[in-house]
């Protein structure tokens, strides 16, 4: 039975637990009756037990400390078990908040050196008396586990660091966009400013052939009329061919 259970837990698609056959409409009816009866005479029925096939119909209480899922034990709240809990010697000192990260890199370096040294010793042992390999292999194992543990402890730190760099990037982008917008605005304002002083009057005076070289007189005449209606505050007397050029540059 135990074996069967193990194999069921280990298989990729475990079979449903055997008690699923109890979930029949008839049993559910029975359970309802039972509970109703239990309510009617509360204290008396406290000791009265449910029939075996009905027990499974009542969902168990949610776990508060730890639970098992697919053969693995999970703690509540979920957290990484420490090496001590796993009965593995911890080769690095407990973190103190001050210079934690400097220490961590240092510890990692130290452990990786030690790992290599242990391997060297293992190779030596294999040359001299191969049957004594077990202890060194155990040491190697402990070292590897410790290194991985250290690295995994480092992850939240890295996550924060990544977040910081991402935010910095976004800040940079946002500022750049603002800057670009402002530049575009300044350009546009300049253009509008030159437009408002756009010499409608000068074009009007083009009839008197002063600036007929820049525009054909026919378009200028009508253009001045419309410009004059939209920008009444223009300086009528000033002639400004550069604003006209600016407009042309803007694709007009």
């Amino acid at each position: 039975m135990a074996e069967e259970q193990d194999s069921r837990r280990a298989s990729l698609f475990p079979a449903p637990p055997t008690f699923y056959t109890h979930f029949t409409p008839a049993n559910q009816e029975k359970l309802k009756e039972f509970q109703a009866a239990a309510k009617n005479d509360e204290d008396e029925n406290a000791s009265k037990e449910l029939p075996a096939e009905l027990v499974c119909l009542i969902p168990p209480k949610p776990p508060t400390e730890k639970y098992q899922s697919f053969g693995q034990i999970w703690t509540l709240p979920e957290r990484h078990p420490t090496l001590k809990e796993l009965n593995i010697p911890q080769l690095f000192p407990e973190p103190n908040n001050e210079s934690y990260n400097v220490d961590r890199a240092q510890e990692l370096r130290r452990l990786s050196k030690s790992l290599l040294l242990n391997y060297l010793e293992l190779v030596g042992i294999m040359g001299m008396s191969p049957e004594e390999y077990a202890e060194k292999v155990y040491h190697l194992r402990i070292h590897l586990i410790n290194i991985h543990e250290l690295i995994n402890n480092y992850r939240p730190h890295q996550a924060r660091e990544t977040l910081i760099s991402m935010m910095e990037e976004q800040l940079e982008k946002s500022r750049q966009e603002t800057e670009d917008n402002r530049k575009a605005c300044a350009k546009l304002k300049e253009l509008l400013g030159s437009l408002s002083t756009f010499d409608a009057g000068g074009l009007l005076t083009s009839d008197t052939a002063t600036s007929a070289d820049t525009v054909t007189s026919a378009t200028s005449a009508t253009a001045t009329v419309t410009t004059a209606t939209t920008i009444p505050s223009g300086n009528w007397e000033e002639k400004d061919s550069s604003s006209w050029e600016a407009l042309q540059q803007a694709g007009l």
Partner: protein, 131 residues
């Protein structure tokens, strides 16, 4: 590309694999040397490599080992945020959050301004196009 920590972890795993491979190679490809006048020992399960190949393979494995170790050291040295404490990070994050909000406000303002100007400009252009 994976992050630094994952890279480091992978490198450590690879190092362990190299550990194993090196020992296994030496164990399965070595030749025997007879002592004195005894006949050379034979083992059918072994396929000894010729001496020069065995030698060069050994060197290659050793080089791999050293290279991997160096790589691990480099990775450790380049881990992000060394010398920054968690509190520093939190402080920085808060600061960045505030700055981001400000920058976003500015950005929206500039966009509004731009749009406003575009509308103005558009009117002018329209009036000109009517020509």
């Amino acid at each position: 590309m994976a992050d630094r920590l994952t890279q480091l972890q992978d490198a450590i795993d690879q190092l362990a694999t190299i550990f194993y491979c090196a020992l296994r190679y030496v164990g399965t490809h070595h030749d025997f040397i007879p002592t004195h006048n005894e006949p050379k020992v034979r083992d059918e399960t072994l396929q000894p490599d010729p001496p020069h190949i065995f030698r060069s393979s050994q060197q290659e494995l050793a080089r791999d080992l050293v290279l991997k170790t160096k790589q691990i050291e480099v990775l450790i040295a380049s881990l992000p945020g060394i010398g920054v404490s968690e509190d520093d990070q939190k402080e920085r994050l808060k600061e960045l959050g505030m700055e981001l909000e400000r920058a976003e406000e500015e950005r929206l303002k500039s966009i509004r301004e731009k749009e406003q100007l575009l509308v103005e400009f558009d009117e002018v252009v329209r009036s000109l196009k009517r020509v």
